[in-house]
């Protein structure tokens, strides 16, 4: 259907990929060679390639325990995110008295910088008795406003006729969401799953303040071990960053298919 030539697109995308990949290549290169990046001239090909920095990272911190904590917190956050955001998104597609107030509240809540809320958030979590627990760690991330708006846009795009037909058949509200709205907005769900996972997985400041016992720490907190003053841990630091990155990337690769199917084919099946 598209008559325009392909190669300018490929050229532009290759250049963009190059710009995106170069810093990333350096992280990966230093994670296998551990050389001093301030050596001059910068070496393009890594010398002395050895995968043992990854082994160091595994033993330098209780990696399995931190990984389990991060995974548990992220799973709680993702599931809660999808459910709460879908419900809120669906509610926002309907007009009701307080709707504009709620919209403005959501928008203004996005504006609150997290660094300024550390102490009150800790006090509140302490009051809820959730200190040092997976739920306490996941609670602030259990709903994100951007994903509510993504669900709202996706639900708005569902043709009115489908919803009215279902309502005439007497389907209750939540069944309408589950059987009609959700299958049509797989793109929104995929986006929410990926973003919620990455945000809770890479979250550093909240677990830092919140956890006291060593076996409740999440993966990013292991970072302090590789920024130590005493010995040179360059290779291990970058290997650690790659290992923290891997799950988020894997989830993105898995969930990519949902983007393409998205609404385009969904709408016709109905």
């Amino acid at each position: 259907m598209n008559r325009y030539p392909r190669w300018p697109i490929h050229l532009a995308l290759i250049m963009a990929s190059f710009v995106m990949l170069v810093p990333f290549y350096w992280v990966a290169k230093t994670s296998v060679s551990g050389e001093n990046i301030y050596a001059y001239p910068p070496s393009i090909i890594p010398t002395r390639v050895q995968p043992f920095f990854y082994v160091d990272v595994w033993y330098a911190i209780p990696f399995a325990r931190y990984f389990l904590n991060s995974l548990a917190v992220s799973v709680i956050a993702v599931i809660a995110n999808v459910i709460f955001n879908a419900m809120a998104g669906y509610a926002l597609t309907h007009g009701f008295r307080g709707k504009n107030v709620v919209l403005m509240l959501f928008l203004s809540c996005m504006m609150v910088p997290f660094q300024a809320t550390i102490i009150p958030a800790y006090l509140i979590t302490g009051k809820l008795g959730l200190l040092d627990s997976w739920l306490g760690l996941a609670l602030p991330q259990c709903s994100t406003i951007i994903c509510i708006f993504i669900f709202k846009a996706s639900f708005d795009a569902v043709p009115r006729s489908l919803i009215d037909a279902a309502r005439i058949d007497g389907l209750p509200e939540w069944r309408i969401i589950w059987h009609i709205m959700m299958p049509l907005s797989t793109a929104a769900i995929a986006t929410n799953v990926i973003l919620a996972f990455i945000w809770s997985w890479n979250n550093f400041l909240w677990p830092l303040i919140m956890t006291r016992s060593a076996d409740m720490q999440t993966l990013p907190l292991g970072l302090a071990r590789f920024l130590s003053y005493q010995e040179d841990t360059t290779g291990a630091l970058y290997a650690f960053c790659i290992m923290v990155l891997a799950p988020g990337l894997l989830l993105f690769l898995l969930a990519q298919k949902e983007f393409i199917r998205g609404l385009t084919s969904g709408a016709t099946k109905g």
Partner: protein
């Protein structure tokens, strides 16, 4: 009047939030210890905690470790929540602020009751933790700045021996600056750069600490020389914008003539610089033997529920035996006279270069500078340091930069008086 009562009510609410009941009900014999980015000594601490528990049956020790910039955030939040760690390892001058606000336990009565504890330590380092006549910390491990120099680059620029004056320092730096090689680098956090100005006879504050005293012709002259050397490449710009990884990384790459830093830099640089051995790296004092300490000390939080137990923990961790272990494991000065003497003798046999570096940490401890016990130290630094950067990076004339700095510092001093 009504508005005030609302405020009081709101804050009472916040305070009520602050004391989660279930945390207060822990066992009374629990001691929590917060250390500053020293997770690499896990094995050693496990052994020492076990020894302490053996000596004090029924005691539980909870060990927390946080990275430098994150420790204050964690510690302050715990104070507000009413559950501060009993013992905390603090670096630099952050303790003065906590002590001035009444957040730390005064250790002087403990020291008077057991005089032999105070006699363990090097008095100059121990004196660094006195505020208004009261001692608040015991030394955990200490360091002070020294001058590392690249002997190969010295030979290439045919420089015979390390600089003996500020002007020689600048001259040698410019001499070694060629291509991507630069002559001088310094660390700049926590006043580590201050000896550069102290050797020019510059004082930060007036003796009574009420007024800024640094805006003098000697200061403007020194800043002018530093700015010119930075522009000509004699001084690497990372000296003014880097913090830890870049200056050490740059020096480890072998392209910088001299590095002004403390003993911890040696181990970081040695790890990254395969060229480093006794023939290629020298360690000496800065001209005038001035140096800025960057010390770690143990303090007891005011909110601690068993300060006496915490005090015996402090004695245990700074005992000759524990300090000796720390010196051997981490190769760092502990200011414990016995432990340092034994440690130095041992290390000079196995690693003479490391021995030479650590030896400098015990010399000229009477010439420590840049360690004024000021409760508003962080504010002062935040007002003063950007103006130094403006001057040395050539954005402002030294005189103007120092005038602006003086105004900012005086405003802080007036408000604090």
């Amino acid at each position: 009047m009504k508005r005030r009562s609302i405020m009081k009510g709101a804050l009472a609410g916040a305070a009520a939030l602050a004391a989660p009941a279930y945390l207060r009900a822990q066992s009374s014999k629990k001691l929590s210890v917060l250390t500053w980015n020293i997770a690499d000594q896990e094995e050693l601490f496990k052994k020492e905690f076990a020894e302490f528990k053996a000596a004090n049956p029924g005691v539980e020790i909870e060990w927390l470790d946080k990275k430098g910039p994150d420790l204050p955030a964690f510690y302050q939040t715990q104070i507000v929540a009413g559950t501060p760690p009993d013992v905390v390892d603090i670096q630099g001058a952050l303790w003065v602020d906590y002590a001035a606000n009444g957040g730390l336990v005064d250790l002087t009565p403990y020291l008077q009751k057991e005089p032999d504890v105070a006699k363990r330590f090097n008095q100059d380092y121990l004196g660094g933790w006195v505020y208004q006549g009261k001692t608040y910390l015991l030394p955990f491990y200490v360091a002070k700045t020294l001058l590392y120099y690249n002997k190969t680059m010295y030979r290439d620029a045919d420089i015979a021996q390390p600089p003996q004056s500020f002007d020689e320092l600048i001259a040698f730096s410019n001499k070694m600056a060629k291509g991507e090689k630069t002559g001088f680098l310094t660390l700049n956090f926590d006043w580590l750069y201050w000896p550069l100005f102290k050797m020019n006879g510059v004082e930060l504050l007036s003796p009574d600490g009420k007024k800024a005293a640094f805006n003098t012709p000697q200061m403007a002259d020194a800043l002018g020389k530093l700015a010119k050397a930075t522009a000509d490449g004699g001084i690497n710009k990372i000296a003014w914008t880097g913090r830890w990884v870049e200056p050490n990384g740059a020096f480890a790459s072998g392209t910088v003539g001299m590095l002004h830093a403390h003993s911890a830099s040696y181990f970081f640089v040695k790890g990254q610089g395969p060229w480093i051995n006794e023939q290629t790296l020298g360690a000496t004092q800065l001209p005038g033997f001035w140096s800025t300490p960057t010390n770690h000390g143990f303090a007891i939080s005011k909110g601690s529920r068993n300060p006496d137990l915490a005090w015996s923990f402090l004695k245990h961790m700074t005992s000759d035996k524990s300090a000796g272990n720390l010196f051997r494991e981490r190769r760092v000065l502990t200011a414990n006279i016995e432990a340092d003497k034994a440690g130095l003798e041992a290390i000079e046999k196995t690693d003479p270069l490391a021995g030479a570096v650590l030896r400098t940490q015990t010399e000229h401890t009477d010439k420590l500078t840049g360690n004024w016990p000021l409760p508003y130290d962080a504010e002062l630094k935040d007002a003063f340091w950007p103006e130094i950067q403006n001057a040395v990076l050539g954005r402002k004339e030294p005189k103007k930069a120092m005038a602006d700095a003086e105004r900012a510092v005086d405003r802080i001093l007036r408000r604090k008086a």
